[in-house]
């Protein structure tokens, strides 16, 4: 691997993604955990840019850092998760062994043997643009059904979450 903008970017975003992920599963303080999660997801957005999908990167930033981060923060405050739980883990040893095994299987059992040398190292030159996505999303031969189903899902999620979260007996605070 030569040293150029892409490889530098890849290394930086890997540090962000995995470092942030490590922070999420280890930090005691859940507000800091939220920030770690955002660091990790920012790294994933960086990957999307390296993979020529800048629209998805923008969506990632907007949805996660703009909305889900705020939502998780609100939930952390509402449940006082920051201060209440002293012990972080249950069944830590079996979980650790299990996830380590999973990682090794995924890496050396699936990824390296199948994709290590067989797929082309260079990607196709032509990249679909946001306009192509827009046309495909609402095309009858494209993704119009999942597109509308997604809309139904969002509506259902919003209605459901409002019904669940709303407190009939008003509370001060």
């Amino acid at each position: 691997m030569e040293l150029n903008a892409i490889t530098i970017g890849f290394v930086v975003f890997t540090i962000f993604t995995l470092g942030g992920g490590f922070g999420v599963v280890t930090t005691r303080n859940l507000f800091q955990g939220t920030i770690w999660l955002m660091v990790s997801l920012f790294g994933v957005a960086g990957y999307f840019i390296l993979l020529s999908a800048p629209f998805l990167a923008a969506v990632q930033i907007l949805v996660y850092i703009g909305a889900i981060a705020i939502l998780i923060t609100f939930a952390v405050m509402l449940t006082r998760s920051v201060t209440r739980i002293k012990e972080r883990y249950i069944r830590i040893v079996p979980s650790f062994i299990g996830s380590l095994l999973l990682f090794l299987i995924l890496l050396f059992g699936v990824t390296v043997p199948i994709f290590g040398g067989h797929l082309p190292e260079s990607a196709p030159q032509y990249v679909a643009s946001t306009r192509d996505l827009g046309i495909a999303l609402v095309d009858e031969n494209g993704y119009v059904v999942p597109f509308l189903l997604a809309s139904v899902l969002l509506t259902a999620a919003m209605i459901g979450a409002i019904v669940i979260a709303r407190d009939e007996k008003a509370k001060g605070g």
Partner: protein, 405 residues
């Protein structure tokens, strides 16, 4: 790498520098040039803000340091340097210090995609319009972090209120932003400006501009939505524990954000650098953009200094029950009318190549639709206002009755 390496990069390579290094250096010079503009502007902006506020309040404003007080900001910065910087013991030190940096950086980063003239810009991203919304969401998170990391009840309470205000007003902002994107058929800011050759978008969709204007006023936390600064209620809000230069950074970010929004509105709705003789020289184009952005900026200052603050329940109700439905309806009507006209062949499909005359029928139809919506909305608001007045008068009368009894 070779075809990318032009201009300064090429010069460096020819003088014997490493190709990668030359590439990086030319990028760095570009970044410094582009970011220099907002950084110089913000120093002037603080002076403008104070001077305008003073004039509106019938004062003179800064007038001691330098000619007409122009160097006042420099003097203030030197003063801030000598101020003690207190970090509360209970604070989360890393996040506490990072928040002002992210807050300021999120505003400066918007300038990376702003085209200053047809030929001078940092980058012209395919997703330009989405980019600045995405970058602005870092600013929201920075406020949340600042409020939490201060470890202060007032700071956290202030941050919660401000963040819920910011996210709420982002909805109409982005729906209004969809109108120019739809008209231009592109998210690149350069394409959006070029599509306004025949007709400015403020004429094609005035309501979208009004919604964008109002919600960006809220996004920057300016009156009548200045919950960020609600001194009388929240002892200043999320930045209460900050002092010295870090406190200054939050304010610099806010001032710069207001002006940035002015420039963005000039680009999205007022044809950017379009104006007489703009093609003669990039300087004239740049001057046009600056003049339009500055004028919009001035009106926001004017508004800030003349209207009172709303209560949070009023702000939220105004957003969710008025601005959001309006912005959705606006988008629906514009896209419907345009599609019908395109199918009938009255309206051109590519606005960038359409002249003023070709666009006339489109303009008239869209203006009529916008006018009808405005009349309806004004009627609605009038009715609602009368109801509210009647309610509060009844409440007042009941109170007087109770006191009399």
């Amino acid at each position: 790498m070779d075809e990318l390496c032009t201009g300064l990069c090429q010069l460096l390579v020819e003088s014997g520098a490493d190709a990668g290094l030359a590439h990086f250096l030319s990028l760095l010079v570009g970044v410094l040039l582009v970011s220099g503009i907002p950084l110089v502007t913000v120093i002037v902006l603080i002076w403008v803000e104070r001077k305008v506020a003073a004039r509106i309040q019938d004062r003179i404003g800064p007038n001691r340091v330098g000619p007409v007080g122009l160097l006042q900001t420099i003097a203030d910065m030197i003063k801030l340097l000598s101020k003690e910087d207190i970090t509360p013991t209970a604070a989360d030190r890393v996040l506490y210090n990072a928040a002002p940096l992210v807050s300021f950086a999120s505003v400066v980063l918007i300038w990376a995609v702003i085209p200053f003239t047809p030929f001078h810009f940092g980058v012209d991203l395919e997703i330009g319009a989405l980019f600045f919304v995405a970058v602005a969401s870092f600013g929201t998170l920075a406020i949340m972090v600042a409020g939490w990391a201060s470890n202060n009840k007032y700071a956290l309470l202030g941050a919660f209120r401000v963040v819920s205000l910011l996210v709420s007003y982002e909805v109409p902002l982005v729906f209004a932003l969809l109108a120019p994107v739809l008209l231009a058929g592109s998210m690149s800011l350069l394409d959006i400006v070029n599509a306004q050759t025949g007709m400015w978008f403020v004429v094609l969709s005035p309501l979208a501009f009004v919604i964008f204007y109002v919600s960006s006023q809220a996004e920057t936390g300016r009156a009548p939505f200045d919950l960020i600064e609600a001194e009388s209620e929240l002892v200043a809000g999320f930045n209460i524990e900050y002092s010295g230069m870090k406190f200054g950074m939050f304010f610099a970010a806010e001032f710069l954000h207001v002006f940035t929004n002015g420039i963005l509105m000039a680009l999205l709705f007022f044809g950017g650098w379009m104006g007489p003789l703009y093609y003669e020289s990039p300087l004239i184009a740049f001057a046009w953009l600056g003049a339009k952005g500055g004028l919009i900026y001035f009106t926001t200052l004017w508004l800030r200094n003349t209207v009172p603050r709303l209560r949070i329940d009023q702000i939220m109700a105004f957003n969710w029950k008025f601005l959001v439905p309006l912005s959705i309806a606006n988008l629906v009507f514009i896209s419907l009318a345009l599609k019908v006209m395109q199918e009938l062949g009255v309206s051109p499909r590519n606005l960038a190549e359409a002249g003023f005359v070709e666009l006339l029928p489109t303009t008239v139809v869209l203006l009529v639709i916008n006018g009808a919506m405005t009349v309806y909305l004004l009627g609605l608001l009038r009715k609602r206002g009368q109801e509210a007045r009647r309610e509060s008068m009844a409440a007042r009368a009941a109170l007087a009755q109770a006191v009399a009894d």
